[in-house]
């Protein structure tokens, strides 16, 4: 039992913190885009910043050095993720998906050529993938996906529809799950492909999210021809690759660190605010509720630390990642809820109002936190995983 970071790790944390303090552009801080709030301007700033992070090796620190990574230890990666999130670093959610889901899958299942082609560019921040998983009738039940990839000569021809493709309108590639054997059982006959988003036959249509921003898309594939070499891993074994990839590196420390920052801002707010002639910080209920958020967020942080620690011991967390994810998502929603209660009417105001407080973060979080706990496997699916994989409860 030892909860101390080494001196070297603490020095690394300071280095990251100082670097971010120096490098995060002022314009980004002004725009202050929260999750799912990106605009074209913020996206461009984020892309530029990602390249900077890439140069430091901090974009894909886990990757082997030959692919532009640093082979950084798990603990340092934990620290890095924590600092990036806490400091609201310009990064898009797709960058995380590209580097932490797609990249490691290519490393595990891709050909040498694919590794050389994509990993280095990912680590430099030069390319972004969107995920082509969900379909209108395949959400939590992903294995029922219907998008078809048929082998025709040296190519695959793709037909079908994907949805919820975050930033599909801005991504360079799609990481696509499609059915290659329609006669096989649900889990057999799915394969994974890399699809260049500029390929003819792809139509991207916006879905405007609850924050009134364009982050999601429907993507239509109409006789889209891609070369056979864009298949990743084994044909018809894509489902199993996909499941393995879901367990990779999901400590959710970023959520806990980001949430901590918001709780700290709430604490600052109640210290500085007077209500009915009394400092808000003297209100018993407010103190109690804020303390509870601090308690819960600490639990969330420890759950995330546990994942990194397990990796550092050579263990492979699976249901533990689900626990961490479910827990932090619910803490984030409760943070938004408590924040709203404390701020009252002020919590409702959007950023264009001169009366807005905390840069309207709480109202924005009230909306954005609805997605955490749904995307990437809903909390119900995660709880199934905890029960079945973690506790060994029967499926039938």
């Amino acid at each position: 039992m030892d909860f101390k970071f080494t001196e070297d790790e603490e020095a690394f944390r300071r280095e990251v913190r100082q670097w971010l303090e120096r490098e995060i552009p002022q314009r980004w801080i002004e725009l202050d885009p929260g999750i799912w709030e990106e605009t074209e301007e913020s996206w461009a700033l984020a892309r530029e910043f990602q390249r900077k992070l890439g140069q430091k090796g901090w974009l894909a620190p886990a990757y082997p050095k030959e692919y532009g990574g640093l082979e950084l230890s798990h603990m340092k990666r934990l620290i890095l993720s924590e600092e990036l999130a806490y400091n609201r670093t310009p990064m898009s959610i797709e960058e995380e998906i590209t580097v932490n889901w797609v990249g490691p899958s290519i490393m595990l299942f891709g050909t040498e050529k694919q590794k050389k082609e994509y990993l280095t560019k990912m680590a430099k921040g030069d390319i972004i993938f969107c995920l082509g998983y969900s379909e209108p009738n395949a959400g939590s039940d992903l294995a029922s996906l219907q998008t078809r990839a048929a082998e025709v000569g040296d190519d695959y021809v793709i037909n079908g529809q994907k949805t919820w493709c975050s930033y599909g309108h801005l991504a360079d590639y799609c990481w696509l799950a499609a059915r290659t054997d329609p006669d096989a059982s649900r889990h057999e006959g799915i394969s994974i492909f890399i699809v260049d988003m500029k390929t003819p036959g792809i139509t991207v249509r916006p879905l405007i999210n609850i924050l009134n921003r364009h982050s999601f898309n429907e993507v239509f594939f109409d006789d889209v021809r891609i070369p056979r070499e864009n298949l990743v891993g084994q044909k018809n074994k894509g489902w199993y690759q996909l499941v393995i990839a879901l367990d990779l590196e999901r400590s959710s420390i970023g959520y806990a660190a980001g949430n901590q920052r918001i709780i700290e801002e709430l604490i600052k707010y109640v210290k500085e605010t007077t209500r009915n002639g009394e400092p808000l910080a003297n209100d018993c209920l407010t103190r109690n509720e804020l303390a509870q958020l601090v308690v819960e967020n600490e639990v969330a942080r420890m759950m995330a630390y546990r994942i990194a620690w397990m990796f550092s011991k050579g263990l492979h967390p699976s249901y533990e990642s689900s626990m961490s994810m479910v827990f932090v998502s619910e803490v984030m929603r409760r943070t938004a809820n408590t924040g709203m209660r404390i701020l009252g009417h002020y919590g409702e105001l959007d950023r264009d109002s001169k009366w807005a407080v905390m840069n309207s973060r709480i109202m924005r979080m009230c909306l954005s936190s609805l997605s955490i706990g749904v995307g990437g496997g809903s909390n119900e699916i995660q709880r199934n995983i905890i029960a079945i994989r973690g506790l060994g409860l029967p499926r039938k």
């Binding site: 804020l290 601090v294 630390y305 533990e320 626990m323 409860l393 039938k396």
Partner: protein
């Protein structure tokens, strides 16, 4: 950073687990719960032989020289198994108080005896206000001819009915600051004027009313300094809260294990109830509560062990674990359904333990107030 146990701790855990499964079956737990003494002298002797009572005392006092996080591991196992008896009050409330605040003479006299299992201790702190603040300490100790005369009523005193010595927290001076003027006395439980009455409680743990009716003690029985006892009480409450969390983590793990095993076996509608999503999600929530509780507790225990400031982490742990264990025990009852509502079944032992543990040393609200204070609110 290492969130796991070291080799020695693994060994301690395994040996404690094996020993308790063998020597402290639920049949004995029930028997002791129903008795007035609430402990088995045979089990007590065997635990002492294993070195548990002196685990965290330095070797020169007949102890094992281990640290507080080792004690937390042991308490986790004791919580898992539910071990009735005065271990907590003797070792955590009594022994640690003497270790951190006692004179060299007191340590030499009492710690080896505790380590041998020779004496039972208890801490008489709370009074009829039932709270853990200094202002609630109304019991008075008045100096007279080089002695002190203690008068007052202490309530919810653990295991005082079998204690050989009672640490009594009393007021020796009244000033505007309620934390000033408090003194800790080590009182022989057989002193004239001391009357102990067992309270009947939910968890059937042995809490007592202890009336000090002009109990005379010598000046040398003061632990620490006269009038400066409150920091000692605070330090002990902090350790006790974390130690109690460790016990609760064990209890919660046991309740989870029992419920999951039952859900796998109990068949309704032609299938194990554990295959139903409603039950699965209860279990998933319980597992999250247990996992979360374990790591915040370990973190607090580690900070105590290392001698680092632990006020915030101890309060976070007690605020969280108090409620988490309650939820786990409640869900376990829901999964067991009607059979859990019987005295024959074991799960109620954990539900009772959870309730008592939630309250003692301050509940979640009490500790959230500390968290708020620590955050500068």
């Amino acid at each position: 950073m290492d969130l796991g146990l070291n080799e020695e701790q693994e060994m301690l855990r395994q040996s404690a687990r094996d020993f308790l499964r063998r020597e402290c079956p639920k049949q004995l737990v029930r028997q002791l719960d129903e008795s007035d003494e609430g402990y088995s002298s045979e089990l007590w002797r065997k635990m002492a032989e294993l070195g548990w009572m002196g685990l965290v005392f330095p070797e020169e006092y007949g102890g094992g020289g281990r640290d507080f996080s080792d004690l937390a591991i042991l308490l986790e196992e004791m919580g898992y198994n539910i071990v009735p008896g005065p271990f907590f009050s003797t070792v955590v409330l009594g022994g640690l108080t003497i270790l951190i605040a006692g004179s060299e003479e007191q340590r030499m006299e009492f710690l080896p005896k505790i380590a041998r299992g020779g004496i039972i201790l208890s801490l008489a702190l709370t009074e009829p206000t039932a709270s853990y603040d200094a202002a609630s300490v109304k019991t008075k100790a008045v100096a007279r001819n080089g002695e002190y005369v203690i008068k007052g009523t202490k309530l919810f005193v653990l295991n005082a009915n079998v204690a050989d010595y009672i640490l009594c927290v009393a007021r020796t001076r009244k000033t505007k600051d309620p934390e000033d003027g408090i003194t800790v006395f080590l009182v022989d439980a057989r002193s004239p004027g001391l009357k102990c009455t067992l309270l009947k409680t939910l968890a059937r743990d042995k809490q007592c009313e202890v009336v000090f009716d002009d109990v005379t003690v010598l000046e040398k029985s003061i632990v620490g300094k006269r009038d400066e006892g409150w920091p000692i009480v605070k330090a002990i409450l902090q350790k006790a809260a974390v130690a109690k969390c460790a016990e609760m983590v064990g209890g919660a793990q046991a309740a989870l294990d029992m419920a999951v095993n039952y859900a796998k076996e109990r068949v309704q509608f032609g299938r194990p109830i554990g295959s139903f999503q409603a039950i699965q999600h209860y279990c998933a929530n319980m597992a999250m509560d247990v996992g979360g509780s374990r790591f915040v507790t370990y973190k607090a225990a580690w900070r105590v062990s290392e001698g680092l400031p632990a006020a915030l982490d101890a309060a976070i742990a007690k605020a969280w674990v108090s409620e988490a264990y309650g939820r786990v025990a409640l869900s376990a009852h829901q999964i067991f359904g009607a059979i859990g509502f019987t005295m024959d079944h074991d799960i109620h032992l954990y539900y009772r333990q959870a309730k008592a543990a939630e309250i003692i040393f301050g509940g979640a609200d009490f500790h959230r107030a500390i968290v708020a204070r620590e955050l500068g609110l």
